[in-house]
């Protein structure tokens, strides 16, 4: 028996399940091989250490939670609730990853910064600027000139009979339009800088 063969019998020797012939071969090898003697001693110790790991106990709420889940299952088999919980959990777990957490934070920062920028801009810049090609200038146009916005709205909004153009373009709806623009800006930036 060589060292590799001896190693194959460590568990069987430890658990005393070797047949007579293999036992003779194993003990014969260990008797003359110091390396295997040491390795076998460490093997025994590490098995013992693993077996002595303390038992993990369930929480005191295990049974009551299970009974609740079973009751839900009985009422609605293939419970939607359980699935929904899992996907929320998975979503939360996703943002525990540094890369995703970073992307999330970037989106948040950009959204907050964007909102701040849009809200603060008129305070610093009282005079409306002329139209330019950039998104930001278009946003500015929305705040300053409803007439220009009317032209840029999609046809279905302009022709809608349920909502008169005057309703769509009335002052209270302007912030919503702004926010919509901001979201677009934020996501575009985040997806390129967040490292997907």
């Amino acid at each position: 028996m060589n060292c590799l063969q001896a190693e194959e019998h460590f568990s069987a020797h430890l658990e005393d399940t070797l047949d007579y012939q293999t036992l003779q071969g194993f003990e014969g090898h260990l008797g003359e091989c110091e390396v295997c003697q040491q390795e076998y001693a460490r093997f025994q110790e590490s098995v013992k250490a693993v077996q002595e790991l303390p038992q993990i106990e369930p929480s005191p709420y295990f049974m009551s939670t299970l009974q609740q889940r079973l009751a839900t299952e009985q009422r609605e088999p293939g419970s939607v609730k359980a699935i929904a919980t899992t996907s929320w959990k998975q979503l939360l777990d996703l943002f525990r990853r540094p890369k995703w957490a970073f992307s999330g934070i970037m989106v948040l920062i950009l959204t907050v910064a964007g909102t701040y920028f849009y809200q603060e801009r008129p305070l610093f810049d009282q005079n409306p600027r002329p139209v330019s090609g950039t998104t930001m200038s278009q946003g500015e146009q929305i705040t300053t000139s409803p007439e220009t916005l009317r032209i840029e709205l999609p046809r279905f909004v302009r022709n809608s009979r349920q909502f008169a153009p005057s309703d769509v373009l009335s002052t209270p709806t302007q912030p919503m339009q702004q926010r919509y623009m901001l979201k677009q800006v934020s996501y575009t930036n985040a997806s390129t800088s967040g490292g997907l």
């Binding site: 460590f10 568990s11 590490s46 250490a49 303390p54 079973l70 540094p98």
Partner: protein, 199 residues
Amino acid sequence: MPELDDELMERYQKGDENAFTLLVRRHQQPLVNFIARFINDRDSAEDLAQETFIRIFKAANRYKSEGAHFKTWMYHIASNLCKNELRNRGRRDRYRVDNVVNSGSDSDGDTEQIDLIASAPANPELQPEIALERKELRNAIQQAISELPEQYRLPLVLRDLQGLSYDEISEVLELRSGTTKSRINRARLMLKEKLKPFI
């Protein structure tokens, strides 16, 4: 006692709700321990253990006491749920699992608090130092186990932490007896190497 489990299962099939509660009480602790040690995540262990019981509850009508044993059936369901869970997590959750093991008493407080209480030595003078040493060793062992490939980790946990026999493990994992034995020996040899700095 597999006979009692089978009897409880039969009683439950006949409409005795209390029999199922008894089955859960008998197996909840080993099942939570098995899952927590196998997937290295105590928080999800409880959830998966409950899911195992729900599957058992749903499949109760198909359960046949002849041939199959409740315990091996339960571990078989739990193993598959764990494997699915680990597969779903994939690389995405790698960060979190590592974090649970490597962190100190902060994020894995629950598990390790229990560990400390369970194995604290009787002599109060030696208590803090030895407890800390033991805790470090336990963390190292859990880390080493979690690093084993799944096909070795699973039989090892069933054998050395759950105390199942080789025949039971073969039944749970649907493996030939020789394969089970060699995988457990291989897993222990790998652990011995991983634990070299500690043992």
